[in-house]
């Protein structure tokens, strides 16, 4: 070390750089570990490789959209190819992507329960023939959004609008931070570009919005709701359960891959499904999720749980969940 300490400084910087490089996760290989550790701690649950593969591909698709969006909003072409996967290493966003992957899996397997066109369930078709133009418009918006989601999914693509506004905002700002940390782009221009990009975001263009809007407009579920999965399609059915339970759409999607579907059964009972309706619903969802049906609750077990009892349990999950993340911990 010389008296000025400069050689030490440069050596420490060099070591720091090496350590930083070593510490950087390779998300392509780390992603399954991250997802398992963050989504399902101690559950003994193993995410399926096809779900993980889809999430991984979607991360690349979203990364590109964020990059293009920022570049178009004034960040400049120098950020091209520079947004990394690091901004996706976030529990909330991975949870949301996993929920979408589960939804995609359910839709992909819909023909197994006699539903050849999961994007056009009977419940939506009926509304397309309504005399009320607003109802037709809302149903058509949902149909288009579902078609686009499934077509994109087959091509391993996901629209940024599939993420909630909160997740999109977090993702964009984390991307800007990452670019800034990597010394790419000019900070003030990056910030302005991010603000402009987000100002152009419109929640009405997203498919989750279309689902929620459809349920709200028609006040679903109805008093004598047909709870058949084939009639509603998995997405609409889960949106209705989310609305009536207050648990959130993503949380309801993730219930569909839990072993035994016990929590899904409780949510269904709380929503007012009879024992037989609930049993049929669980069997169909297990089929769509490609879960073994041997460990589903039986009719006696389902009927032993009263609606009020189930509502209290759902209220517990809801009241104790400040966010989806908290709920997933529960």
């Amino acid at each position: 070390m010389d008296e000025t300490g400069s050689s030490v400084g440069s050596r420490q910087s060099g070591q720091g750089l090496l350590q930083a490089a070593l510490a950087l996760p390779d998300l392509a290989t780390e992603l399954p570990v991250v997802l398992k550790a963050r989504l399902f701690p101690d559950s003994g649950f193993e995410p399926r490789e096809d779900d993980l593969g889809l999430v991984s591909a979607w991360i690349d698709a979203l990364r590109e959209q964020v990059e293009n969006g920022l570049a178009d909003a004034g960040a400049g072409p120098e950020i091209s190819g520079k947004v990394s996967r690091r901004p996706f290493s976030d529990r909330a966003i991975l949870t949301q992507l996993m929920a979408r992957a589960v939804e995609m899996r359910l839709a992909r397997n819909a023909p197994a329960i006699g539903m050849p066109d999961p994007e056009l369930p009977e419940a939506v078709q009926q509304r397309l023939g309504s005399e009320d133009p607003d109802t037709v418009e809302i149903a058509m918006a949902l149909l288009i959004a579902q078609c686009r989601f499934l077509a994109n999914g087959r091509a391993f693509h996901l629209d940024l609008g599939e993420l909630s506004a909160e997740r999109t905002s977090g993702l964009v700002w984390r991307s800007v931070s990452q670019l800034q940390d990597d010394g790419i782009g000019e900070p003030v221009a990056l910030r302005a570009a991010a603000e402009k990009f987000l100002a152009g975001f419109d929640e009405r263009e997203g498919r989750p919005h279309a689902l929620e809007r459809f349920c709200h407009w028609l006040a679903l579920p109805e008093a004598r709701q047909n709870w058949s999965v084939a009639h509603n399609g998995p997405a609409l059915l889960l949106a209705m359960l989310a609305r009536v339970s207050g648990l959130g759409f993503d949380a309801c999607c993730l219930l569909c891959i839990e072993p035994g579907l016990a929590r899904l059964a409780i949510v269904a009972r709380a929503a007012g499904l009879s024992g037989h309706e609930c049993l049929a619903f669980l069997a169909d969802m297990a089929e769509l999720a490609r879960l073994g049906v041997h460990d589903l609750p039986d009719l006696a077990a389902i009927e032993a749980v009263g609606q009020d009892e189930a509502q209290q349990m759902v209220a517990r999950w809801r009241n104790h969940a400040a966010s989806l993340d908290d709920w997933m911990d529960g």
């Binding site: 003994g44 506004a165 700002w173 931070s177 800034q180 709200h216 509502q311």
Partner: protein, 464 residues
């Protein structure tokens, strides 16, 4: 029943960036005034205001459902929210109303319900079917909040629930015995009446409040009047009331500090990010303390029991090591854990064994030098099995070892995030499972903590 009102034309409201009403169409303005709002004042409809603030904070257009309640109805709205640099506009596109069952004041008529209504109801809280507050008729000397910010909150977020119910299940509205208003320490007695609709469907709940019991100096009410804050009671109050009440705000502090520290909402100067990280670390320390105190309350209560289940000590040790691997790697500490094919079946409670091992390995990481090794080894005798956590830390003298497992004992250390309760709780848990927790150490020679539990003669074990 839901009545859907199709608006001929959407209605809108414009707010300044501080949430004050600039202009509004009549139906919304009327709701604002009915909710106690003032002309040009802050919007008195909490969910709409929250939506507007969220949209402004993110600078993004939102389109979401929101609910408003007044004395007789719950109104569900679909709102498109558009922020601009000077204001935010909420456009309401559909409007659905659900009537609330009218509040029947206490009659005391000697019919089937006198036991309930005879309480005379000094106050009344109406919950909807989802247990959200839609109306409070507070006792005369209680102010439930000028801004009516309780509306449509889940009741457990607003009220503090006190004795008489299971503190671990505050969501069970049927079990409330007493509750307190924010800022008012008195415990109001509660009777709960579910409001069942014609189709035997729960439409909501009525909580009838009656005057709190006054503590008499002569103790005339005996056991009914709790004594003031002896140790056990303080612990109980902490575990059931203060702890849960603290967790949420502390959690928010941590989350917000992490958001700032992680620069998730935009670039900031590095030193400010570091300050925020310090705040998050302090918050996590507080949360640990809250958890420790809740555990302390649990293990010191007379009814404390642990489950007896088959547990593989080796598996739990690997899980604990896995959970702390990131923390260890931050200090370049290597965790030498039992091999995957090692088994050590014992009888205990899985989550409690995991809690103990997390405490032991976490301490070892905290007090070991960077770049060192922590060994986690298995051992057994005739009827006991053991896991040993050994580190290369500074070690302890005999005197320090004698004090180590005492409540609040920090051995003169501070600023490391510890509460001085972890090892005390761990030993109590080990003993509750029929085992022991001991330490061997000498200054400069690291420490070896040994957790012993009864062997499982059957040899089978289960995971979490």
């Amino acid at each position: 029943m839901t009545m859907q009102s199709r608006l001929e034309n959407p209605v809108s409201i414009r707010l300044s960036r501080n949430g004050h009403v600039i202009s509004a169409d009549q139906p919304l303005l009327q709701l604002h005034f009915e909710a106690g709002g003032r002309d040009q004042g802050e919007l008195a409809l909490p969910q709409l205001l929250a939506l507007a603030r969220q949209s402004m904070a993110m600078g993004m257009r939102l389109s979401r459902a929101a609910s408003i309640a007044d004395a007789s109805r719950r109104i569900s709205l679909w709102c498109d929210v558009t922020p601009s640099p000077s204001m935010v506009e909420i456009l309401v596109r559909d409007w659905q109303e659900e009537p609330l069952a009218p509040y029947v004041p206490p009659q005391g008529d000697g019919s089937d319900a006198p036991a309930l209504w005879a309480l005379s109801g000094d106050g009344h809280v109406r919950l909807d079917a989802e247990q959200r507050i839609v109306r409070i008729t507070a006792p005369a000397d209680v102010s439930p909040g000028e801004e009516r910010d309780y509306l449509l909150k889940h009741w457990s977020e607003y009220f503090a629930v006190a004795d008489g119910m299971d503190g671990h299940r505050p969501w069970q509205v049927f079990q409330i015995h007493s509750l307190a208003f924010p800022g008012d320490e008195r415990q109001w007695r509660v009777e709960v009446v579910p409001d069942m609709g014609a189709q035997n469907r729960v439409l909501g709940f009525d909580l009838v409040l009656s005057a709190p019991r006054a503590a008499k100096p002569d103790g005339a009410e005996g056991a009914a009047v709790p004594r003031l804050l002896d140790d056990a009671q303080l612990a109980r109050i902490f575990g059931t009331r203060i702890g849960p009440a603290l967790r949420r705000p502390i959690g928010r502090i941590i989350a917000n500090a992490e958001t700032i520290g992680g620069r998730l909402d935009g670039p900031i100067r590095a030193e400010y990010a570091n300050y925020a990280s310090d705040i998050a670390a302090a918050g996590r320390h507080l949360l640990t303390l809250v958890d420790d105190l809740a555990d302390l309350e649990a293990i010191e209560s007379s009814g404390f029991r642990v489950e007896s289940e088959a547990v593989d000590l080796s598996d739990v040790a690997r899980r604990a090591g896995g959970l702390l691997a990131l923390k260890a790697s931050d200090h370049r500490i290597r965790l030498d854990l039992p091999r995957d094919d090692e088994l050590m079946p014992v009888i205990g409670e899985f989550r409690r064994v995991l809690q103990i091992l997390l405490n032991l390995i976490g301490n070892a990481i905290a007090y070991s030098p960077d770049g060192s090794v922590i060994w986690v080894r298995l051992d057994e005798s005739d009827d006991m099995a053991a896991v040993i956590v050994a580190d290369q830390g500074p070690g302890m003298s005999d005197e320090e070892q004698a004090k180590l497992f005492r409540k609040w004992e920090r051995l003169g250390r501070s600023g490391d995030g510890g509460s001085g309760l972890g090892l005390y709780i761990s030993r109590r848990l080990a003993e509750a499972m029929g085992g022991t927790l001991t330490v061997q150490s000498a200054p400069g020679q690291g420490a070896r903590f040994r957790l012993e539990l009864p062997k499982n003669a059957d040899g089978a074990s289960s995971g979490a």
